[in-house]
């Protein structure tokens, strides 16, 4: 505590002193330690976190990101009411899925134009522009989901269809015929329904109940196009 200055209490004697005149004479007593630390834990933690992700090894970063992507895959495969996909969205998963799908769907050589399969770039464009269109529609309808969150959800829900593509590819190694086609049709339909259910679980929540069907319809169209491309795929 600072030493108090004696202010003359009586008003009658001497000239009136100006207010706070003696304040500059107050000094801190030397023998009472008033040192200490005031830390702001939250801020320092944030600083610590930021700098540590820059300094960690590349392997750590990649493994951490892969784990996040894998966790979201699990959420898509078993759609529950959780908003992990929405809360920490990332676009790595959709990119991986889209590239895988496009690689598997592209037709073998440029010469066979009559085949009718898409090129790599065409699949890419269809997937991403379809997702952007659905997001725009959802936002215009008045949903309260952000642009990238919606892209993230739509991209991750392509996972069942990618699995269907793998299965179809394997089935096509067997002899062609109507049974072959029926099996593929069955698998693609199931995965298509799974995709729609998974994405509806996330997207429909962002719309009021009298508009859910309106937001789901373009999602239905989008996955229908992708399923159609998967079903009509024939290897060279």
């Amino acid at each position: 505590m600072a030493e108090t200055v004696d202010v003359p209490g009586d008003s009658g004697t001497g000239s009136p002193r100006p207010l706070f005149a003696g304040l500059s004479d107050i000094s801190i007593s030397q023998d009472i330690p008033v040192e200490g630390e005031i830390t702001i834990p939250m801020r320092s933690q944030i600083r610590e976190f930021d700098s540590s992700t820059l300094n960690e090894s590349v392997q750590n970063t990649i493994v951490r990101d892969l784990k996040a992507v894998g966790k979201k895959f699990m959420h898509v495969l078993y759609p529950r009411k959780s908003n992990t996909l929405l809360r920490d969205w990332d676009l790595w998963g959709p990119l991986i899925l889209c590239v895988t799908l496009a690689l598997m769907l592209q037709r073998g050589s440029v010469d066979s134009e009559k085949d009718g399969g898409p090129q790599f770039a065409e699949v890419f464009v269809i997937v991403w522009f379809g997702a952007i269109t659905i997001t725009l529609n959802s936002k215009l309808l008045g949903g309260n989901i952000s642009f990238f969150q919606s892209l993230c959800v739509l991209g991750y829900c392509i996972l069942p269809l990618t699995v269907a593509m793998l299965v179809c590819r394997l089935v096509l190694f067997a002899e062609p015929g109507p049974i072959n086609f029926t099996v593929r049709l069955f698998v693609v339909i199931i995965m298509f329904v799974w995709s729609i259910v998974a994405s509806t679980a996330f997207l429909a929540d962002s719309q009021p109940p009298n508009r859910k069907a309106l937001a789901v319809y373009p999602v239905f169209l989008f996955y229908f196009v992708i399923s159609w491309m998967i079903l009509t795929f024939t290897p060279q």
Binding site: S27, E35, G36, I38, N55, N137, L140, T232
Partner: protein, 311 residues
């Protein structure tokens, strides 16, 4: 509280005689003679970082580059300027986008719900029993489509357009004439026809000097309703061949003709003629012809854009 920074700013503190009770000059603050903390965002960030770095005894390697970076009052000012620049840039982009694509006006056209879409689709296929075609207003602004079935919306035309392109691809695929470029071709040709229609109608409205509250977006919405009929026709054609296609397309053509006449009559013609009372006079006749022409163009375009899809 001020003397608590002794650990952090010890070297600097010694400059000031201990008699004077002034706050310790922190490197994060601009003015050493301030009696209170400047809690503006940039400076307090610098202040906090300085505190955290100094107070925790944090490993110097990680913290000191940042601490010394945020130390410098110039970089605080730079950070503040940079963030204000970013905010200003964002404002500029929003303003310019709003100039070209009026986002708030677009939101009106998407204020729909499932009931409205269902009833409107029913109206597009069967407009004969509907009596009241007047759009309701609420203090000079039209009511949102959700509440009034006569109001135009953009959800149905947009979805119908996309569905039409996909169904066209499907139809071509069943005839083995499909390749993904065709999707793009169909989409752009349909869009080109739509643009042509809109421009032609706007031009004729201008030439006939009609005083109407028909905006461009309204017009696009009305002209987009024919895609619903086209989709119906093509789907029936896929399922039942040419007979199905012609039947359903014929029905949809007549429906859209009646729909357009009844809707546009209220917008283009004067009040008297809208109530069915025949009004003599060249002006109203001209407007009547214009309405008929617009309505008659719809079935023609519907046929033109779909006949090559059904074999």
């Amino acid at each position: 509280m001020h003397s608590a920074d002794a650990a952090a700013g010890t070297a600097r503190q010694r400059k000031w005689p201990s008699k004077r009770r002034v706050p310790v000059s922190q490197p994060g603050m601009g003015d050493p003679h301030q009696l209170f903390d400047d809690t503006s965002s940039a400076q307090s960030r610098g202040y906090g970082a300085q505190r955290a770095a100094g107070g925790l005894g944090y490993p110097a390697a990680a913290a000191s580059p940042q601490a010394t970076f945020l130390d410098d009052p110039m970089s605080n000012v730079a950070m503040a300027y940079g963030s204000s620049l970013a905010a200003h840039g964002k404002e500029l982009v929003d303003k310019n986008i709003n100039r070209f694509i009026p986002v708030t006006k677009l939101k009106y056209y998407f204020a729909v719900d499932t009931m409205y879409v269902g009833r409107k689709l029913g109206l597009l296929f069967f407009p004969y029993l509907h009596q009241d075609w007047e759009v309701q207003y609420q203090q000079d602004t039209p009511v949102a489509p959700r509440f009034d079935i006569n109001a135009p919306d953009l959800y149905i035309p947009a979805m119908a357009f996309i569905t039409y392109v996909l169904v066209a691809g499907l139809a071509l695929g069943t005839q083995d004439r499909f390749s993904p470029d065709i999707l793009g071709l169909q989409a752009s040709s349909a869009l080109a026809w739509l643009t042509l229609e809109v421009v032609a109608i706007l031009l004729s409205l201008y030439l006939v000097t009609v005083n109407t509250d028909l905006t461009t977006i309204d017009l696009v919405a009305f002209l987009g309703y024919k895609y619903v009929g086209m989709i119906g026709g093509v789907l029936m054609g896929l399922l039942f061949g040419k007979i199905g296609y012609y039947l359903v397309l014929g029905w949809c053509c007549v429906s859209i003709f009646v729909f357009m006449i009844r809707t546009l009559r209220l917008k283009i013609l004067a009040e008297a003629a809208a109530e069915g009372v025949p009004v003599r006079g060249a002006r109203n006749q001209l407007r009547m012809y214009l309405t008929m022409a617009v309505a008659a163009a719809q079935p023609l375009l519907m046929y033109w854009l779909t006949f090559h899809l059904v074999r």
